[in-house]
C-alpha cells in the first residue's frame, strides 16, 4: 500500500484485493462479538476533516477509527476557523502540529486531498473531493458486489445517472476496471463528462437495453446542489428515462443486485419499492463501509509511521 489513499485509480489489483480481503477478515473476526473493538491503532490520532456535508461517510470513518482504538477528532468547516477565512493549508498545518497520524478529508474542490498530502507527514485518505473521486465508496461497493455475487472478474456493472458530477462513478469506473469487472455507463448525454471516451467503459443512453445483461445496477444520486444548468428538461422526464422503478427492475436477471451510494432521492433515480427490495444492497453497503474503512485505516496507519 502507498502512504495515502487519494484515488481509486492509484490502486493496483494487488492493493485493492488486499483491502477487500482485509475487510472480509475484519468483518468475520468481529462478527457476533460483544466487544467490537480492536487495539490495533491505539495511540494513533485520526482527524476527520470535512469541508462538505456528509452523514454516512463521516460516521462510517469515525466508527471505523474508533473500532480500531484510534483517537478521533471530528472537524467540520462549519463552526471552525475556516469560516473566519483560514486556508486549507493553514488548517492542515494546525492539525499536523497537533500530531494527526491520519487525515480523512472531504472537500468541495477536486484535488484538495492531493494538495493536502504534500503538506502533512501523516496519511491522507480522500473521503470525496469535488467531482473527482471517492475511493472508499468504490472499495465498499466492490466489497458488496464480491460478497453478494462471489466474484468481480467479468461482472457486468451498469452505472446510471449523473456521471458528470459523480465522484462515486469515477472511483467505481477505475476500481471495477482494475478488478476485472465490465462497466457500462448510462446517462443523458448532458450528464456525461467530455473525456468519457478515454475511460475503460461502454457508454449507452438506453437503460432498458442494458438491464437484461447486467449483474449489478448502480444508481447515482441526482445531485440537486450541482444542477446549475439545464442538464435535463424535467425531473419527471429524467425519472422516466433513467430512474429505476419496479417495472424496470423486472427486466433484470434473477441474481442481479441494485446498489445506491446514498443519500437517495426516492421516486427520482430510484423508486421506493426498488430501494427496499431484496435485490437492493443499500443497507449492506453502509455496514460494509465500516469494515472497508477499518481495513484502509489499518493498512495505512497500522505500520511504521
Amino acid at each position: 500500500m502507498k502512504r495515502h489513499l487519494l484515488e481509486a485509480a492509484d490502486l493496483d489489483r494487488a492493493d485493492a484485493t488486499l483491502v477487500l480481503d482485509t475487510a472480509a477478515q475484519i468483518e468475520s473476526a468481529l462478527a457476533g462479538r460483544e466487544v467490537k473493538k480492536l487495539p490495533t491503532l491505539r495511540g494513533r490520532t485520526v482527524v476527520n476533516l470535512f469541508f462538505e456535508d456528509s452523514t454516512r461517510t463521516r460516521i462510517s470513518f469515525e466508527l471505523a477509527a474508533k473500532r480500531l482504538s484510534a483517537d478521533v477528532i471530528n472537524f467540520s468547516a462549519k463552526g471552525s476557523s475556516v469560516s473566519k477565512g483560514e486556508s486549507l493549508k493553514d488548517t492542515a498545518l494546525t492539525l499536523e502540529a497537533m500530531g494527526a497520524d491520519g487525515i480523512v478529508v472531504r472537500h468541495g474542490a477536486s484535488g484538495a486531498p492531493h494538495r493536502l498530502a504534500t503538506w502533512v507527514a501523516g496519511s491522507v485518505v480522500n473521503a470525496g473531493d469535488g467531482t473527482h473521486e471517492h475511493p472508499t465508496q468504490a472499495l465498499l461497493d466492490a466489497y458488496t458486489i464480491r460478497q453478494r455475487l462471489g466474484r468481480l472478474e467479468g461482472v457486468k456493472v451498469v452505472i446510471t445517472g449523473d456521471v458528470l458530477h459523480s465522484r462515486v462513478a469515477r472511483s467505481n469506473v477505475w476500481l471495477l476496471h482494475t478488478l476485472g469487472a465490465e462497466v457500462t455507463l448510462v446517462a443523458p448525454p448532458t450528464l456525461l463528462p467530455v473525456g468519457v471516451g478515454s475511460w475503460p467503459v461502454t457508454v449507452s443512453y438506453d437503460l432498458d437495453a442494458v438491464l437484461p445483461a447486467a449483474d449489478v445496477v448502480m444508481m447515482l444520486r441526482v445531485q440537486g446542489e450541482r444542477m446549475n444548468a439545464s442538464f435535463f428538461p424535467s425531473a419527471r422526464e429524467y425519472s422516466r428515462r433513467y430512474g429505476l422503478d419496479a417495472e424496470r427492475m423486472a427486466r433484470l436477471s434473477d441474481d442481479a443486485i441494485v446498489m445506491h451510494p446514498g443519500p437517495m432521492n426516492r421516486g427520482m433515480e430510484i423508486a421506493a419499492d426498488v430501494a427496499d427490495s431484496p435485490r437492493s444492497t443499500i443497507v449492506e453497503q453502509v455496514g460494509n463501509g465500516v469494515s472497508v474503512r477499518m481495513a484502509v485505516l489499518y493498512l495505512l496507519l497500522g505500520g511504521p509511521a
Binding site: M1, L18, D21, T22, Q25, I26, S28, A29, G32, R33, E34, V35, K37, L38, P39, T40, L68, Y298, L299, G302, G303, P304, A305
Partner: protein, 198 residues
C-alpha cells in the same frame, strides 16, 4: 536423500532436522493423548472433552489444531470443537515490522464462554504471539481456563508465559531460525533449525 541430521555433517548455513516427516505425526499423537488425559481430569463428570475447544493461531497453529482434534476424535470417538484466532490486529510489533495481510478468525458456534480453551501454535519463542492471542480471546468471551499447546518450544521468552503441552523442547540461540512445515500448508511435515552459532 535424508537431510543431514547432525551438526558435524551440516554446513553452517544448512538447515538441521529436528523432527522428520515421520516424527511430526507421532508428536501430534502424543499431545492429543495428553489433552485427552488432562481434559478428563479437569472436570468432575470425567468427560471434559465436550468442554474443550482447540484454537489455532494462524498460520500453522490452525492446521495443527485441526489435526489434534482429528486425532482426539480418532482415539476417543468424541468430536472436539476447533477454531482459529488471527492475532495480527493484536500484535505489538506492527509499528516496527509493518502491517500484513490478515488470516482467518473462526470460532465454534458454541463460543468459548465457560469452556477449556487450548491455544495451539507451532513454535513458542518470545511469547508475544500468545500474549496477542490471549488479548484476542478476551474480546471474544470468557473461557473457564486457557492452556497452551505448541509443537516446538525454543526458549527465549520475553513474557511470563509457559506452555502446558510441548511437542519438543529445543535449546536454540536467538539468531537461529526454527521452521515448522506442515503438509496442509507446506506440502510436507518437518521441523528444521537454521543458522547461528550455538
Amino acid at each position: 536423500m535424508a537431510p543431514p541430521s547432525t551438526l558435524s555433517s551440516a554446513g553452517p548455513g544448512d538447515p538441521q532436522q529436528l523432527l522428520s516427516a515421520d516424527d511430526v505425526p507421532r508428536v501430534v499423537d502424543r499431545i492429543a493423548h495428553q489433552l485427552i488425559e488432562r481434559a478428563a481430569s479437569s472436570t468432575s463428570s470425567g468427560d471434559g472433552l465436550a468442554d474443550l475447544v482447540l484454537i489455532g493461531i494462524p498460520t500453522r497453529g490452525a492446521p495443527l489444531a485441526r489435526r489434534l482434534a482429528a486425532r482426539i476424535e480418532a482415539f476417543t470417538g468424541t468430536a472436539v470443537d476447533v477454531g482459529t484466532v488471527d492475532i495480527t490486529l493484536y500484535r505489538d510489533d506492527l509499528r516496527t515490522r509493518g502491517v500484513r495481510a490478515l488470516e482467518d478468525t473462526r470460532l465454534p458456534d458454541a463460543g468459548i464462554d465457560g469452556r477449556l480453551v487450548v491455544l495451539v501454535d507451532d513454535v513458542l519463542f518470545s511469547g508475544r504471539s500468545v500474549r496477542a492471542a490471549l488479548d484476542g480471546l478476551r474480546d471474544v468471551g470468557r473461557p473457564r481456563a486457557v492452556q497452551l499447546a505448541v509443537l516446538v518450544d525454543r526458549g527465549h521468552r520475553e513474557l511470563p508465559i509457559k506452555a502446558d503441552f510441548v511437542g519438543k523442547n529445543v535449546p536454540t540461540s536467538r539468531s537461529q531460525q526454527v521452521r515448522v512445515r506442515l503438509a496442509e500448508v507446506d506440502g510436507e511435515d518437518g521441523v528444521t533449525i537454521t543458522g547461528g552459532e550455538q
